[in-house]
């Protein structure tokens, strides 16, 4: 049974204005439906709710603004449906464009930071280990929990901004230490070190994890000395789009897993999976939907948004060549600004790179409509969502294969052993 404090009841009754009252009532109702007994303070929020799905979401945000609502804690914004920072053209009809713009303005008016990125953790928003936060966007949630060790559930539309305004969240799920203990052990130590040290492995591992774990907390054994931050980012994003993963541990790597026993809470795992070469192959095959064709119409990278380091890898692979297919580089303004200042943006654009900033190619119409088109990507999340959201079939490959294919204008594969 949910117990609100006197202060919370006063806010819900309008002591701090209509907007704050509405936000607190929404958080309290969510807490009641989830079976939480109390609300807890949160240190920050990441808001996924400013992506336009229809007019009702815009009207909701504007009602909060009219009620004088302001965020009580630091709140960054996830991608929107438009690209105020420019770059790729967006094919939204006039009414939708207008409502999407109104929605983005409303969230900024409530004091949210115009970060417009799905990788806020690489744009300077990194909550402290052990702190409670209210984050939306599944890849940001899983990174926040797993790599930073801060505590959040997967906060969806409306609840994310309501928590940010209330400065509170329902006390349930991954906020509670007992729910952060791994129950599933995934052993990848049987795969070659070469594979475990390659970028292209991590979205495939994440996709397998999402399907195998659902929303169960997992600890992965066998990745010591193999991971980078961008690899963990790719792993989490794929796991959270293929399944309901909100938290994973990597033994000897992530902050709540100094060793296997700690991640498991000093208990034997309820389930143990040994990842085999055959399962890797099967998962890899499922990531591509285009079948046996060497056709490539476009390449998309950057889901989650590319880091500055990943941009550097793109430049190295391009090596001043010109692309014969468009390569959509999805990123945030936190990356575009330094690229611009260093003169690197112009060079990349001259080579045929199209920057997609503040948004991305699977959440808003950017890719041209082409019959039977094929999109190549190195992102597990793009591979998951592109067929449904863009109509393009997908071919999955490494960043290097993506670049070589965009240069050649047809699929280029490199020899690789998936074991």
């Amino acid at each position: 049974m949910l117990q609100l404090t006197d202060e919370e009841r006063a806010i819900a009754s309008g002591a701090r204005g209509g907007g704050s009252a509405m936000a607190l009532r929404i958080v309290a109702e969510a807490a009641r439906l989830m079976g939480a007994r109390r609300l807890i303070p949160v240190a920050s929020a990441h808001i996924d709710g400013a992506l336009y799905h229809g007019d009702s979401g815009t009207l909701f945000a504007e009602k909060l603004v009219e009620g004088g609502a302001r965020v009580a804690v630091r709140a960054t914004l996830n991608v929107g449906s438009l690209a105020p920072a420019g770059c790729a053209a967006i094919r939204l009809a006039a009414h939708q464009r207008d409502m999407a713009a109104r929605m983005m303005r409303a969230y900024e008016a409530m004091g949210c930071e115009p970060s417009w990125t799905c990788a806020p953790y690489q744009a300077g928003h990194r909550p402290a280990q052990g702190s409670d936060v209210a984050w939306g966007e599944s890849n940001a949630v899983v990174f926040c929990n797993s790599v930073l060790g801060a505590r959040t559930n997967r906060y969806g539309d409306f609840l994310d901004i309501a928590c940010a305004i209330a400065g509170r969240a329902p006390d349930y799920g991954l906020h509670r230490a007992e729910n952060r203990v791994a129950e599933l052990l995934l052993d990848v130590g049987g795969l070659s070190k070469e594979l475990r040290r390659s970028d292209v492995f991590y979205p495939v591992l994440g996709t397998f994890l999402g399907r195998a774990a659902g929303s169960t907390v997992v600890v992965i054994e066998g990745l010591q000395d193999c991971t980078t931050e961008d690899r963990l980012k790719a792993l989490g994003a794929a796991a959270a789009s293929a399944g309901g993963v909100g938290l994973f541990h990597v033994a000897g790597v992530t902050p709540e897993a100094p060793d296997l026993a700690t991640a498991l809470g000093d208990r034997p795992p309820k389930q143990r999976i040994v990842l085999t070469h055959q399962e890797m192959q099967a998962t890899l095959a499922r990531l591509s939907t285009a079948g046996a064709t060497d056709r490539i119409d476009a390449v998309a990278i950057g889901s989650p948004h590319l880091s500055l380091k990943e941009m550097g890898e793109l430049e190295n692979l391009l090596a001043d060549r010109t692309l014969s297919r468009p390569l959509y580089a999805n990123t945030g303004r936190h990356v575009l600004q330094p690229l611009e200042a260093q003169g690197r943006r112009k060079r990349l654009e001259a080579a045929g790179v199209i920057f997609v900033v503040d948004t991305c190619v699977v959440v808003t119409p950017i890719l041209p409509e082409i019959e039977g088109a094929v999109l190549m990507t190195n992102s597990g999340k793009f591979a998951q969502y592109a067929p449904g959201n863009t109509g393009y079939a997908v071919t999955y490959g490494s960043l290097s294969e993506c670049v070589e294919s965009a240069v050649a204008g047809r699929l280029v594969r490199e020899p690789r052993t998936w074991s």
Partner: protein, 136 residues
């Protein structure tokens, strides 16, 4: 026959034909927010419309945008007349919580075990504000 549902989101007395889904559904990507049509290509009730029905959900597949789809349906007048669900899905139901805050007419949501839902398929149901579900 009268069944008793546990009230998750209260509402007035409503009447509608029961559309009992035979598989769990994700509202985001599974239901067209503009029309209420089931668009998930792999769902057994694909091309059925949930607008105005008493929608019986044996399960939901969590998506953090499910609430946005349901709110959009309420706003456009394409929401179910009532929702019966096996287990409360807080993310989906948040769409109704927000609709109520917006002052829009909000369909009630009741908890009813999946085992009792299937028998209601195609029947006209009268849902009262006290949680009673009468089969006509």
């Amino acid at each position: 026959m009268v069944l008793k549902g546990e009230i998750l989101i209260p509402g007035g007395n409503v009447k509608g034909e029961c559309l009992a889904l035979s598989a769990a559904i994700s509202f985001w990507g599974g239901v067209d927010p503009r029309t209420g049509m089931i668009i998930d290509a792999r769902h057994p009730e694909r091309d059925r419309n949930i607008a105005g029905t008493v929608l019986a959900l044996p399960g939901t597949i969590g998506s953090s945008s499910a609430s946005a789809v349901l709110l959009e349906l309420v706003h456009a007048g394409n929401a179910p007349a009532a929702i019966l669900m096996d287990a409360p899905d807080a993310i989906l139901l948040l769409g109704l919580v927000v609709a109520r805050e917006m002052g829009w007419p909000t369909p009630p949501a009741l908890r009813l075990p999946a085992s009792q839902q299937a028998a209601l398929a195609g029947k006209t149901l009268l849902i009262s504000s006290d949680g009673n579900i009468a089969v006509q």
